[in-house]
């Protein structure tokens, strides 16, 4: 009977389709795991205490190429600074969007479109924006000129890079934080109001503490983004191997360091990969492994926080 054969064909088509979907998913998972595994495999033998604790040294031979400490410190400085700079603005904006802003106002649409557009801007463009703004004479205080690192024109420094990076991650942090605040049930707010608490007190004492895990997720996600970006750093920080001061841990040196150039794990890898000028792929892989571990830890922390947050709220 014709119709049953047709059905049989449909069944086969179904099975093929389902099998293809499985295949695609397995392929994607395999690629992801391969990338991580390959990094571990290649970078593993570069990692030792010497590698992690000495600064890189420019040299032709890979042997005495030093370690990766300066870039690690650079990544830490950049990530922490961008978050610190941006956090008050991001949380403030998220609170306002979630609690005070009415969706019918015209200004709400403008803000939302502005944030969405900001989120879509590629990070290279952010880097160029940084160069456009912070080379203005007005911002001279943000960077020092002529550091020992080489031909660093003024307009590049950790401060500049942190500000630009902060603006880059701002829309994402706002988005996640706003969702976290919105997810607090209305009944909690009503209960607080009925007890005589004012709106701001309700937000400060009831809503924000309840949304804390979600906001923490937003912060960690932002940190992950800041740690992994290369284009902004390359353009606004340069790729020097050294920082303004070797003794970076001394408090008195902090300002010069921040106003000076340096490198992060990302620019280090970019510079030292076979495609860059440094050409010490062993060090690049070691740094890549450190970087990927950092990013994975941040990513998984964010997911854990997110799940803890949604459990506590219910």
């Amino acid at each position: 009977m014709g119709s049953i054969t047709k059905q049989g064909n449909r069944r086969i088509g179904s099975s093929i389709g389902i099998a293809l979907c499985w295949a695609a998913s397995i392929a994607v998972a395999a690629v992801c795991l391969f990338i991580i595994g390959y990094l571990v495999f290649q970078g593993w033998h570069a990692i030792n205490w010497h590698f992690l604790s000495t600064d890189p040294v420019a040299s032709l031979s890979e042997e005495s190429a030093g370690g990766v400490r300066t870039p690690m410190v650079g990544t830490a400085i950049l990530v922490l600074f961008s978050i610190v700079l941006i956090l008050p603005v991001a949380i403030g904006a998220a609170v306002y969007l979630a609690e005070y802003m009415d969706e019918r106002w015209w200004i709400t649409r403008i803000v939302r479109i502005g944030l969405e557009t900001l989120a879509s801007v590629p990070s290279v463009v952010f880097g160029m924006f940084g160069l456009a703004v912070f080379t203005l004479g007005f911002f001279k205080f943000l960077s020092s000129s002529g550091t020992e690192g080489g031909s660093m024109a003024f307009g590049r420094s950790f401060l500049v890079a942190s500000i630009v990076m902060g603006v880059h991650i701002l829309p994402f942090v706002i988005k996640v934080a706003e969702e976290a605040i919105r997810s607090i049930p209305k009944s909690l707010r009503q209960g607080a109001l009925a007890l005589g608490m004012t709106k701001w007190r309700t937000i400060r004492k009831v809503v924000l503490p309840a949304a804390a895990p979600g906001i923490a997720t937003a912060v960690v996600l932002g940190m992950g983004l800041a740690a992994g970006d290369t284009a902004i750093v390359w353009l606004t920080l340069g790729g020097t191997m050294t920082m303004a001061s070797d003794a970076w841990w001394k408090f008195s040196n902090w300002l010069p360091v921040l106003r000076g150039a340096g490198s992060t794990l990302t620019t280090f890898i970019y510079f030292n990969s076979p495609a860059g000028d440094g050409n010490s792929p062993g060090a690049a892989f070691g740094a890549a492994l450190v970087l990927i571990v950092l990013v994975l830890v941040l990513n998984l922390t964010a997911q854990l926080l997110f799940r803890r947050g949604s459990k506590a709220g219910s």
Binding site: S25, G92, L115, L118, V124, A132, A153, G238, Y270
Partner: protein, 346 residues
């Protein structure tokens, strides 16, 4: 009628109600008064900072647009022009760069659509419950891998593979303009595919999940197989959401600088179909974004180059803002259809 409330009746009772005095009192409402303004300022600033960005970038790009107009986009020869610029010439044509961005992104979109759709259908419909969370985690991880790592692995694995296995020995005879190695359009497409895939997958999964169950049940009740309900009912209904996902992935792809710079050969060459389909993919390219990052160092000291780079940045801005608007429109279409808003961007 009972007597009107007397103040004495409501006098404080030990352990009981307090006396009621409702006259407005000056409280410490300072924070209540100014907090909304402070927070509002933060929100408005965040929303408007993008205009600052556009202004500064376009302003710095103005010299090159003013001097060349549309020829900036239509003329070619970027690589030589760059060299000449050190000697004072100031003409730039970025046609090859635009071609590089567009070709690599389109290729990546195509593959990522096919693979990503499979993953999205898997996550939304086919995965057993215990597999769902781990696979979602893997997709999130893929999204979190830094672009420089993609570039590094792409360089060591994909480029060497192409160089060893795919480039024919006599390539120098077929393509005479430039040397053919492993770093090429194909490598760019492969690497870019996996970079933009997570963006498409998350949006597509959400879109498929948002399709009301009742539609699917209706199909099943009519005797359709699971697969056909996916193909015939869920996909078409979720289509605007899928489009939005594609557009977001495209925006990510167009803007990628580092990975392309590492694996695509860094030569501003428009892949030439006349050399045959194989060679078209084996030819190196340079994209708008990678050109910026490659020349963003000392080259910025030369004013004409700086202006040209800002010009490229302006083009990238135009692309990404347009794509963002299209995505917004597509999401709007989708939520009107569904009555459900699902705009999770990574």
């Amino acid at each position: 009628m009972p007597a009107h409330a007397e103040a004495a009746v409501l006098a404080p009772v030990p352990g009981g109600p307090t006396a009621i005095d409702l006259k407005e009192r000056v409280r410490n409402t300072a924070s209540d008064q100014f907090m909304p303004y402070l927070l509002g300022a933060a929100a408005i600033f965040s929303g408007l900072v993008v205009t600052l960005l556009v202004f500064f970038v376009v302003q710095k790009a103005w010299p090159v647009f003013h001097a060349e107009g549309l020829r900036f986009i239509t003329a070619g020869g970027w690589d030589t022009q760059l060299e000449d610029a050190w000697n004072g010439s100031a003409f730039f044509g970025v046609r090859a760069l635009i071609a590089g961005s567009v070709f690599s992104t389109l290729g990546a979109l195509l593959v990522s659509f096919v693979l990503g759709l499979g993953c999205a259908i898997f996550l939304a419909e086919l995965a057993p419950a215990w597999l769902r969370r781990p696979f979602e985690t893997i997709v999130q991880l893929l999204a979190g891998i830094p672009s420089v790592v993609f570039g590094l692995v792409g360089l060591m694995v994909v480029v060497t593979f192409i160089a060893d296995r795919m480039v024919p020995g006599n390539s120098g005879d077929v393509v005479t303009e430039i040397p053919i190695g492993g770093a090429c359009l194909l490598a760019a497409i492969v690497v870019l595919t996996f970079m933009i895939l997570p963006f498409f997958v998350t949006v597509a999964t959400d879109s498929l999940r948002a399709v009301p169950r009742s539609y699917v049940d209706g199909g099943l009740a009519l005797g359709m197989t699971r697969w056909r309900t996916i193909m015939r009912i869920q996909l078409p209904t979720a289509a605007p959401g899928l489009i939005a996902g594609l557009v977001l992935a495209a925006a990510r792809g167009i803007g990628e600088a580092i990975a392309i710079s590492m694996v695509a050969g860094a030569i501003a060459f428009v892949p030439n179909l006349a050399h045959g389909p194989l060679y078209m993919f084996l030819e190196p390219i340079r994209s708008m974004a990678s050109a910026i990052v490659e020349n963003g160092g000392e080259a910025m000291d030369v004013p004409s180059i700086a202006a040209a780079l800002f010009g490229l940045a302006t083009l990238l801005l135009a692309f990404s803002i347009t794509l963002s608007m299209i995505a917004r429109w597509a999401f709007g279409l989708f939520s009107r259809r569904m009555g459900v808003v699902s705009d999770r961007n990574l």
